[in-house]
């Protein structure tokens, strides 16, 4: 079972709910792993007491120019559709940060002068927590492309925790990174808040899920503030509301300190029970 927590809007509670749920499931005796896929700003580890077990360097492949046999024909620059290669009269310049790793330049080069070589884009870290593991993808600063690292983090989690329930904490938004974090999951839980911002971004996320033909449900966080727009929308669109998490400054305070919420706040624990029950009902 693999479940992605996503949201259009940032700051709606993806990490709060996914970290607490993972810990709660572990306490119930389940084998569970949490993967933090918000590789641009990973922070699940801030909320979980854990020790670092393993670090793997995450690479992407990009061409490296080897001068020796190069005929300076310029074919590489011609076939690169991402402006990552510039053919100068006497040298070939490669801009790895623009490279999409399509291999066209390397494989179409008549003199094999552009072998693909790994270059670092970030790290994948595995942490051991109380009763469960956490896998984190962390993009290096200045790197622009999050998707390859998200894919590698999921792959790492699948490979090393094949029998566990996998909870994926996705990045915010609705574009490629979220698609990558959602497309291989059994179910996606969209977390929103009952405000016009929450509703606007939920609609965008729902559009994305529909194109992906992905099964999904909604959690309304900070319930009790804002308006009824999200509820009405879910009702009209027949989207299941898995739970409503009450708006509560005490939750925000615990969060601010990096503490787990459910051991201290009863209504929050009740919401986790709703989620556990819902997940249990999935096939």
């Amino acid at each position: 079972m693999k479940i992605t927590f996503a949201s259009g809007k940032g700051g709606t509670g993806k990490t709060t709910i996914s970290t607490n749920l993972t810990s709660y499931l572990a306490r119930m005796g389940k084998s569970v792993v949490l993967a933090d896929l918000d590789v641009e700003e990973p922070n699940a580890a801030l909320f979980i007491k854990s020790t670092l077990k393993k670090t793997e360097i995450s690479n992407k492949m990009s061409p490296k120019w080897e001068e020796v046999d190069c005929a300076l024909c310029g074919k590489c620059a011609e076939v690169c559709n991402f402006n990552a290669i510039v053919a100068m009269p006497e040298e070939i310049l490669v801009f790895p940060e623009l490279c999409h790793s399509c291999y066209a330049c390397s494989e179409l080069c008549p003199t094999d002068s552009l072998p693909m070589t790994p270059s670092r884009i970030g790290e994948i870290k595995e942490f051991k927590a109380d009763g469960f593991s956490l896998v984190e993808g962390r993009l290096d600063l200045g790197q622009e492309m999050a998707v390859p690292l998200i894919a590698q983090t999921i792959e790492y989690t699948d490979k090393n925790f094949s029998d566990s329930i996998k909870i994926l904490d996705a990045p915010p938004g609705t574009s490629c990174p979220v698609i990558e974090a959602s497309r291989g999951s059994d179910f996606v839980i969209l977390i929103t808040e009952s405000t016009p911002f929450g509703l606007n971004d939920l609609k965008l996320a729902v559009e994305t899920m529909k194109v992906l033909k992905q099964k999904f449900g909604v959690i309304i966080n900070r319930y009790g503030i804002g308006n009824k727009g999200v509820q009405e929308y879910c009702r009209d669109e027949n989207i299941p509301i898995i739970t409503k998490v009450q708006n509560d400054k005490e939750v925000a305070k615990l969060y601010s300190k990096g503490e787990l919420i459910y051991p201290q706040i009863e209504h929050f624990k009740n919401s986790l029970d709703d989620i556990v029950k819902f997940i249990g009902g999935l096939k």
Binding site: G8, K9, G10, G11, T12, T15, E40, E41, N43, L46, F47, V79, N81, F82, H100, S101, C102, Y103, A104, E107, L108, L139, L141, G142, Q143, E144, M145, A146, P171, P172, G173, T174, S175, C176, P177, I179, R183, T195, P196, F197, N200, D201, L204, A205, E207, T208, V211, L212, R222, I225, G226, N227, N247, K249, A252, K253, Y255, S256, K257, G258
Partner: protein
């Protein structure tokens, strides 16, 4: 014309609420742009009318002609994105996975593959509250590289600001540190970092500030929800001092922001004379004087 870019690293810290408040306060002296093209929602607070729409094209996807395809599999071998799948009679492209690299198109021996330009988004120029305009966008599903759309939004906003002789462009950036954020930051006269007094607020602030530094940009900071955790606020202030970043406002945790949001109003419109609004107004004055005093 000077550009103020509001970013946050972490989502949900109040970035858009502040940007919209600044836009409302500055009125016709500023042009507004929403660079959070992934999940744009600033228009909700500023009553945008989506008056002028244009298509934005970027990137391409491969399409295989069923009749010309001989099922030789050369495209399948070339594709590094698992975007090509064989069927009994021909190969097909999954448009979601296709990266638009042209490799298959180049190696197909039967010219069965064409590259089709994709619409990547809609760009809007809208009239908004307080007698000014905003440029905003909506990214299409699975469109490539939202950074390019961000760049286009910024370019349109700058052109319009110059044409209309505006003193400021106020830009609402996107969360994270990746491509759209890097694109949002380019050419900023001043960066406003919005954070909150939480462990993740500080963590994400530090990451995004490192990025800001690599571009040699000057930044100021707003600490939101400072009273949630006074120790954390202190940690954030110490960090900012080391980085030489001025705190232009510290705001308490207050549901009034959400109430204003529910009424689709910036805080300075919803509750004009409140203490919160005063803090926001003071911070905007502070930001303006910092920019005006720059060479």
């Amino acid at each position: 014309m000077r550009e103020v870019v509001v970013i946050s690293g972490k989502g949900g810290t109040g970035k858009t609420s502040f940007s919209a408040a600044f836009a409302y306060l500055e009125g016709s002296n500023a042009l507004v742009s929403d660079c959070d093209v992934d999940a744009a929602n600033m228009h909700l607070l500023l009553d945008a009318n989506f008056k002028n729409q244009s298509d934005f094209f970027s990137g391409e996807i491969a399409v295989i002609d069923e009749d010309d395809c001989t099922n030789c599999g050369i495209c399948f071998d070339a594709c590094r994105f698992d975007a090509i799948t064989p069927t009994d009679d021909f190969h097909v492209v999954d448009p979601i996975s296709c990266e638009g690299c042209h490799y298959c198109f180049r190696v197909c021996p039967h010219d069965a593959i064409t590259m089709q330009t994709q619409k990547a988004g809609d760009i809007f120029i809208s009239d908004i509250k307080n007698n000014t305009q905003m440029v905003h966008a909506k990214l299409c599903f699975a469109a490539e590289n939202s950074g390019k759309l961000v760049a286009k939004v910024k370019e349109e906003a700058k052109i319009l600001a110059l044409k209309k002789d505006k003193e400021f462009v106020i830009t609402d950036g996107s969360p994270g540190i990746g491509c759209p954020v890097i694109s949002s930051l380019s050419g900023a006269s001043l960066v406003v970092l919005v954070t909150e007094a939480t462990v993740s607020g500080l963590h994400d602030l530090q990451r995004v500030q490192k990025l800001v530094k690599t571009f040699n940009l000057e930044a100021v900071c707003i600490i939101n929800k400072y009273d949630l955790n006074l120790d954390m606020t202190q940690n954030i202030e110490e960090y900012l001092e080391e980085e030489n970043i001025k705190v232009v406002a510290k705001l308490p945790y207050d549901d009034t922001f959400t109430k204003a949001l529910a009424k689709a109003q910036p805080i300075v419109e919803y509750d004009e004379n409140s203490e919160l609004s005063k803090l926001v107004k003071d911070s905007w004055e502070d930001i303006k004087s910092i920019i005006r005093n720059k060479k």
